[in-house]
Amino acid sequence: MPRSPLRIFFATGSWAILAFLVLPILVVIPVSLTDTAFIGLPKEHLSLQHFDTFLHSPEWLQATWTSIWIGIIVAAASTALGTAFCIGCWFLSDRAATIARWVMIVPILVPPVVQSLGFYKFWVTLGLIDTHFGVILAHTLLALPYVTISVFAALTNLDRRIPQAARNLGAPLILAIRTVILPSIRPGMITGAIFAFIVSFDEIVGVLFLTVRRVETLPKMIWEGIQESVDPVIAAVATILVILTLLVTAAAVARSYAATKPHPS
């Protein structure tokens, strides 16, 4: 391989950009292992004390648990709604359905601040400010596009004659959907649910707009923690999050890969 100056320039540039993207994320790991009482790199030796603080702090554990159960409900709700939407569109498969699919994806394109402002105005009217339900509802709406993208990908691989065959063999529409369509698109639904959980779990802008004191999620705790104190426990939490996110994303990618891979014949 010839090493032209241009080549070296671009290779260096690529690595620099990659490092710029990844380093801020990775820097939390050494910081979380610090032996000092403030945010900074370890001075004398590595320490797990801040992980220990996290695991024994009721506030942190409470916020973590809140984020987890909200995430689970959001994943379930958005997967149910998104799948129903996709199957409906798939059956229609005309222009209206195509337009509906595009409209469904628009929330991804709208800036989160604008969206949160909209939620805020509307949730005030509905009396949902500072309620868990309000957050769940907002997160479900934010997660829906991700679910529809993933479920639609699974549906496009499905032969339209398959539900027809089920009905021809005696299954009414609902039974045909339950016994034949849902099992076939399950990989897409699971991938969608995982993405929905991630969207909810690390969502911060909406939570800041919609909650005051009663609802405390993990991202909000971190945000407030960094403003009020320099406690390295934040770095410990961040490290746990980075590792968890990597694991869950890897699982989601592996799933969608398995779903799109053709079966051996």
Binding site: R167, N168, L169, G170, P264
Partner: protein, 356 residues
């Protein structure tokens, strides 16, 4: 004749400006093997889909054993269908696929197991019960689709181009099997295909469709021997089309005149008895001879060797190009390119067509 098991009356279906079905009337007799044959866009699949309940007709009715089923959803019609591409359920094993209609009908587990085994044996797929559909070849998937459709003992089996995805040899084998299965089970088969060989080899009766309307229906040999229209004459096998002048009726046949010769032709109802007419003549009904042996004289233009048969294109001054098909193993004239030959045919070998 007993009451038809299915009947379609005045079925009309349009997609925008396109008339998929144009006032189709059709009766299907119990136990027959009926084939809907036509080119793509002829409406044959739309007709099958309307019978199965997947396509809503604009107008017209479908009756099953006297009951109006026009507005009945597909799952309540009890007509089994074998789909193009098989449409096996990918998440279920072969046994689960075949047992699906029975589970939907809430059969007991033991009864389902017994019937599934029976159906798989029927299509010689007994040892594949635990496989997944993706692990089977096309022909094997086809058999499973057949077993699945037959498992709930339907009276009527609808087949939508079931062999179109298979290679030629396998297709021929499965044609025999389908025909044998039909005779053994006594189930009414409605078979859709665009393949004339499939239609001729299996059917009791063929319905030929074109542009959403029935062109002609009848037994395979009837349609082949006595086509009524130019379309049928050319779609079902090959035909020479001979322009002739009709000079009148003589008993049960008509007299036609072409290139200075008069001969008797077969004529169905609705054929003009005088004036210009068009005759269909099958290539294998034409005899070749040396000049002077037969009434018409021409020159061999091209020869195409097909193994068991040989096709000879003969140029005639008035009739134009005439296609002759001869067995390769015969004792008559062996034509060569650019050779002068004579040709002729027996009385009533030609059929007068309706669309002159």
């Amino acid at each position: 004749m007993s009451e038809p098991i299915l009947s379609v009356r005045q079925a009309i279906k349009t997609y925008g400006d396109f008339r998929a079905l144009d006032a189709v009337n059709l009766d299907i007799r119990e136990g027959e093997f009926l084939t809907l044959l036509g080119p793509s866009g002829s409406g044959k699949s739309t007709l099958l889909s309307a019978i199965a309940g997947f396509t809503a007709l604009d107008s017209g009715v479908v009756h099953a054993k006297g009951d109006d089923i026009t507005r009945l959803p597909p799952e309540k019609r009890g007509l089994a269908m074998v789909f193009q591409g098989y449409a096996l359920f990918p998440t279920m094993s072969v046994a689960e696929n075949v047992g699906y209609p029975l589970r939907v009908r809430k059969w007991s587990k033991a009864a389902i197991r017994e019937r599934v085994t029976e159906c798989l044996d029927l299509v010689q797929m007994g040892q594949f019960a635990d496989r997944m559909p993706q692990q089977l070849s096309g022909g094997q998937q086809q058999r499973i689709a057949l077993a699945r459709a037959l498992s709930f003992k339907p009276d009527v089996l609808l087949l939508d181009e079931p062999l179109s995805a298979l290679d030629k040899q396998l297709r021929a084998d499965l044609q025999w099997e389908l025909k044998a299965l039909h005779e053994r089970l006594g189930v009414t088969f409605i078979y859709v295909t665009h393949d004339q060989d499939e239609a001729l080899s299996m059917s009791d009766r063929i319905v030929i469709l074109k542009d959403g309307a029935i062109q002609q229906e009848g037994a395979p040999n009837e349609l082949y021997d006595w086509p009524r229209t130019r379309f049928v004459a050319n779609f079902l096998g090959k035909s020479n089309c001979i322009e002739a002048r009709m000079t009148g009726r003589d008993g049960d046949h008509l007299i036609a005149e072409a290139a200075g010769h008069r001969f008797a032709v077969h004529a169905g109802t609705g054929v003009a008895e005088t004036g210009k007419g068009c005759l269909a003549l099958r290539p294998e009904r034409i005899r070749l001879g040396l000049p002077g042996d037969e009434p018409f004289t021409g020159r061999v233009k091209q020869i195409s060797y097909l193994g068991e048969r040989c096709q000879v294109l003969v140029d005639h001054d008035v009739l134009g190009e005439v296609l002759v098909s001869q067995p390769t193993w015969h004792s008559g004239v062996r034509p060569e390119p650019r050779m002068d030959v004579s040709f002729g045919w027996d009385a009533k070998a030609c059929v007068a067509l309706v669309d002159a």
